[in-house]
Symmetry: C2
Subunit: 314 residues, 2 copies
């Protein structure tokens, strides 16, 4: 039996998993992310934990196919990061450093792209090779899978779908400095923003309280039949559905996988996205399926392992 | 020496080329496209012409690596077309039929995607592996190259960049049935449409005549310093530049290659696109280069040959 490690580096914790090459997860664990001193301990801490696991499990190094790593930053095709705000990293040769620390082959990708790869392998996109994953969290992230491979781009910034413009009339700025980015309407924060704008002038009765509101509150109210919440969800879905229609014209995916905290609202969320999507999609893309992500927090470690399995021969 | 054939099937003529495997073009020729009877003669005519060329040049079949073919329709990864309005084809197994007719390996792609591959290989995108080609002709076509390969998509409709929406307020319909498609503003037809709208209410003196105007007239007037024409070009550039900024956020290309009839306006065209592009591009994509296509009508046959060289080992 051969094995792989999957590693998903986040700003607070590093998730790790030991997998059989078949894809079965043998064990999962976490260590804290030490972001002090420009995050210089992060890779050594990971290596120490992996080497410890190898000893604990009495594995032979030659039976380990490699380590896949997802990083919250653009990653070049050479496994180099030019800076990660969440980790404190400046320029870092992640692949090289990881390989030197462990003596194992390492394969590095952007965390959102790697999570998309995981969902394609064992989650919502299983069976497909052309897929767009949309992660609706604090921001809007994404990963694009083309013919089974992550779209990385020329400097690792492929799949930044939170920053396509969906409203050229927007006055407020996005965190990225532009105006009208998808993230301003479809992230958890964006939904709250839409809700507050609506409630500012709303006269009808509603369960929503504009002083204290979350994206979850909006979709809970939708499920309870709240008319105002429904209209907020319609507005959210229109921006997202229209944005995804534009992505589909370029990527021609078989499936959209919707994940992230907002997706915990469940199937109801998909209906709000699909309707405006179909209105605007190019005819060849009308029948793209919409599904919820299935792997939750394991998408990153799963995708990291898939990266090892796909790339190790090259 | 090994050889390849490149074939670019258009609605009126089929362009063909005999190449050395180094990429050198030995000979180019054309035959008419016979669209009668659902285009059933097209592939036999091509095969007949290729076999004739093999005999004429006294080539050995085993020295021919294959035939690359660009088709004006979506083409699946299996080389199947589900209909081409320009050729009269319904469902057609192009790869299979071509291989049976010639006894040679055949590799099939969408014509716009194949042309993009050609420009990456030997034209405006030479040296790059992540590129978007934009063809501004009667319509707006495109081809997206990711890590050196054409983005084909799940049913061959990848890279339909003429049909991303760039104006959600548009009232007029695009040929595809949607409203606000990039093609409605950035094609030769779209530029004429923008010009006519402008001239409808324009009081200033201008070289442009709204009864008889082409996209070339607009850019000729721009070069002559015509203020009204300049404003039409600004409007064109804004729609296109904003649209390309959205594409870049997803694809993270190194270069945009601008081709098609409208691109004959030359470098002046690029300046009108680049300025609004930079205003809207995600920060990681601000420095994408804009260049004119270089291969003209040879892009298709060149790309078709590149397809053979890339795919034949698989």
């Amino acid at each position: 039996m051969k094995y792989c490690f999957g590693v998903d580096i986040g700003g607070t914790t590093v998730k790790m998993g030991l997998f059989e090459e078949t894809g079965a997860i043998l064990e999962k664990w976490e260590i804290p992310t030490n972001t002090l001193a420009e995050g210089k301990a992060i890779l050594p801490d990971i290596a120490f934990s992996l080497v410890g696991k190898i000893e604990e499990k009495k594995l032979e190094k030659e039976d380990i196919l490699g380590i896949g790593v997802g990083v919250p930053a653009p990653v070049t095709a050479e496994g180099v990061v030019n800076g990660s705000a969440n980790l404190g990293w400046k320029y870092k040769e992640v692949k090289k450093e990881m390989e030197e620390l462990t003596g194992l082959k390492a394969f590095i990708g952007n965390d959102a792209n790697v999570a998309a790869l995981g969902e394609m392998w064992k989650g919502g996109g299983a069976g497909e090779k052309n897929m767009i994953m949309v992660t609706l969290g604090t921001g809007v992230g994404g990963g694009v899978i083309i013919d089974g491979k992550m779209l990385v781009g020329c400097n690792g910034a492929g799949g930044e779908i939170g920053h396509i413009c969906v409203n050229y009339e927007e006055k407020d700025c996005c965190g990225c400095g532009n105006r009208g980015c998808l993230e301003q309407y479809a992230s958890a924060t964006g939904i709250v923003r839409l809700a507050k704008q609506k409630l500012e002038t709303e006269k009808r009765e509603t369960m929503l309280n504009k002083e204290k509101i979350t994206a979850k509150d909006v979709f809970d109210a939708v499920k309870a039949g709240d008319e105002v919440a429904d209209e907020i969800a319609v507005s959210f879905g229109k921006y997202l559905g229209y944005g995804l229609a534009n992505l589909a014209a370029v990527v021609n995916p078989a499936v959209f996988v919707i994940g992230g905290g907002v997706s915990k609202a469940g199937e109801v969320l998909l209906s709000y996205i699909e309707k405006p999507y179909k209105e605007r999609a190019f005819f060849a893309d009308k029948n793209v399926r919409f599904v919820l992500a299935q792997l939750g927090n394991d998408a990153g470690i799963c995708g990291a392992v898939k990266l090892v399995l796909d790339e190790r021969g090259k």
